[in-house]
Symmetry: C2
């Protein structure tokens, strides 16, 4: 299954920079590198130790392409488990292209997406869930998703699954043994211990499956619908929320990233803010369409943030606000709604108290802020964070973020519950063995003991080239 070809790709981000890194892996990596690299020391790189760096030039037909540093990683002490060469060249895109083209001419082929990590998996350097975590790690853009990917890459999740699998395998072999002695009707597998184990496995599987809800939130963020008319201060609020994060980013020149105004990281969790129009009662057809759209967007969101300009809060406006919120609650009874009073800096304390009191009679507890003056922002953040169950995160528990793992866990749980039922109803060993095998199969799918080309193709196609 492992391709014998030597692959090459740009490993550093595309574009120009101070340096770029080109990576080769495969059995000819050293000999191909040797053909294009002239060490300043004059020594042949094939005779150098693993994990050493050499200054020299990339040369072809007497023409010097670049002065580079060449790093040697000898099989099996490399990322892929094969011979690996990393060339650290000057970071012009022209030089990157020229060196990669030269290496292609010398017998490398372009690596496919994720092929380095695929080889690492096939060579036993990583299990499948660890390999998947590599892609998650590279795409992680906040503390929580980074922490989970790190934990998964370092084998936290795999270990938990492997431990369950091993215990189950133990019992499975005892049950299989009983089949060999079927006519003697012996029981090698202690049924009470087995029942305990199944309960334990069920408990762990359920916890892992439950963790997917928070895992999914961490990986994909929490959609928040902002309901509010124009000029209530939506973008000022988003900027105020973003403020902290931005300061950090701009501190580090050279690592700018695109500002996506409606995607913020608060307390390590991504929040996606979905802008909507208001939902005032209306007979106007055009406005009705707007309201329909607002409801559609609220449906997609997990949290509703109702933003109000407090300066506009007449008694009548507050009454109609109560009706509007009632409409949302009717439609989405379980969706949390945060009412945010903005521009409170423009009110006198008496005015503010009057508004809050009236809202209290409607059973609405507003959060009062001044987005412009960045007041009350912390309260709002805390309120948003209260919808995220980050307990598991704080307790460093394993969290499932991957849909593939989630599916396999669900299927494994189903099989374990069948086995449990079988045990309770004194099912014969041979029938129980089938369900156990099936559960083991789903465990193996997660870590990659059980796999096939199509599955691997799907997983690694989502990787970037060069990883």
């Amino acid at each position: 299954m492992i391709s014998q070809e030597t692959i090459v790709a740009l490993a550093s981000p595309s574009g120009a920079g101070a340096i770029a890194v080109i990576r080769l892996s495969g059995k000819d990596a050293l000999t191909i590198a040797e053909q294009v690299f002239q060490s300043v020391s004059g020594k042949s790189i094939s005779k150098q130790k693993t994990h050493t760096i050499h200054l020299g030039h990339i040369v072809d037909e007497g023409k010097v392409f670049d002065q580079v540093l060449l790093s040697i990683f000898k099989n099996p002490h490399s990322y892929t488990g094969e011979d690996v060469i990393e060339i650290s060249c000057h970071g012009s895109t022209y030089i990157q292209q020229q060196i990669i083209q030269l290496l292609l001419r010398k017998g490398c082929r372009m690596a496919q997406a994720g092929e380095f990590t695929l080889r690492a998996f096939l060579n036993g350097k990583l299990d499948l869930s660890q390999a998947e975590a590599v892609a998650d790690l590279i795409s992680s853009d906040n503390e929580a998703s980074h922490q989970i990917a790190m934990q998964q890459m370092r084998g936290g999740f795999s270990n938990e699954i492997a431990k369950l699998r091993e215990e189950l395998l133990n019992f499975a072999s005892l049950i299989e043994l009983e089949l060999d002695f079927a006519e003697e009707d012996v029981e090698f597998a202690d049924r009470t211990q087995f029942s305990d184990l199944l309960n334990r496995i069920e408990f762990v599987l359920k916890r892992l499956i439950d963790s997917f809800a928070v895992g999914n939130v961490i990986k994909n963020g929490i959609p928040v619908a902002i309901v509010g008319e124009p000029n209530v201060g939506k973008s000022t609020l988003l900027n105020a929320l973003l403020n902290e994060e931005r300061a950090i980013v701009s501190e580090i020149a050279g690592t700018t990233r695109d500002t996506i105004e409606d995607e913020l990281v608060i307390g390590g969790i991504g929040f996606r803010f979905i802008d909507t129009a208001g939902i005032r009662d209306t007979k106007d057809v055009v406005e009705s369409i707007g309201i329909k759209k607002t409801f559609e967007k609220i449906e997609q969101a997990q949290v509703v943030m109702y933003l109000v300009d407090s300066v506009q809060c007449s008694v009548i406006r507050l009454e109609s606000l109560n009706i509007e919120i009632g409409r949302i609650k009717n439609q989405f009874p379980l969706k949390p709604i945060i009412v945010v009073l903005n521009k409170v800096d423009k009110l006198s304390p008496t005015e503010l108290t009057a508004i809050v009191n009236q809202l209290t009679t409607y059973n609405i507890q507003p959060i009062t802020i001044s987005a412009k003056n960045k007041e009350g922002i912390e309260d709002l953040k805390n309120q948003l964070m209260s919808f995220v169950n980050t307990g598991a995160l704080r307790n460093n528990e394993t969290i499932v973020t991957n849909t593939r793992h989630y599916d396999s866990l669900l299927k494994a749980l189903e099989e374990i519950q069948k086995v449990k039922f079988g045990l309770q109803s004194n099912l014969s060993s041979d029938l129980m063995a089938i369900d156990i095998k099936q559960a083991l199969y789903y465990f193996g799918e997660i870590t990659g003991e059980v796999t096939n080309d199509e599955l691997l193709g799907n997983i690694f196609a989502n990787f970037c080239i060069g990883k």
Copy 2:
């Protein structure tokens, strides 16, 4: 002058990729790295040899940030000449930021643009013109500019200047010696040999100064004004010219670059195509403004390409074409004009011959092409290339591309010519010594023997961060 602080920056291009490289340089680079890096082998990195690579984790307060490879370059065997650490981490922008922030907390400061190379210069690893070539190399985007930057970085230009400077210095000291024995009226410096040397220096300086014309073309490209009405096939032609180049780029996934439609590399030289409207004779005010703009653009260009739809070439149209080209020639008598007949695939051979014959009577030799069928494109490329004197490039001669060097060379030449004149008119040694010193000063400016903070500031401010 050398700052003692340890600096840090992202060295790989900004953005996400498989891996990213973070670089530290300074006397505390090893001890700072030691605080955040836990080697898998458990060994302390400060005890490791230079040019070795170590697998481990970036850890702060028990929290694992990433699994990384750490490369050690010990002073003076590094790019900057100081202790240098390179951390090769997973390429998410979040991880890049977190690691850089951690290093800042541990006592590094952010490197300024070009500060690594500035330190390399100050520590004598590179002279100034070599340091400048590093920036040129990173921004090189075609074969010619890459070749010149490579040559300059490897010291070709510096050596040429240094040799002249040394010989001149030799004579200067003999002349100085004469001053000490002024009353005895001796001549230590052989005037004939000195005159020969001055001639040689003058010759080399003139050659270098002349090379700036081609150097400038190579660095900044050749502006070509395309004169032609809509629908004569401008964009098809640009695509046909671009075709080859594009194929190369798209071959290498992960190294995509923005396609700038009007900037093409032909034969290793950049051509910038400037689109203009036609210049037909007209009484219409609006059109007159258009013609004025066309002439302004032609003025900026080095070459004019007059593109004509051959299907539209009636006898009368050709006559008016002759008049239009005459107008350009009147205005810009020295500017080369290429007349390109497009869409010749739509003509019969007889029709084409008739058109070419009529143009020949006007002393116009057109290039006939079919941009759509990519016919005649090579002829056109050759014609464009004929305007570039790449002789110096082919002969591997030193080419000056840097305005700063060009200025210094001009000033040095002026001083050398003064010395020559002094020698011919039997000027006293003390006066001649002043001019020689001044010439030496300008030589020193190029390679950086003579320098000041402002000059260095200007040069390195143009570098990218991390280099």
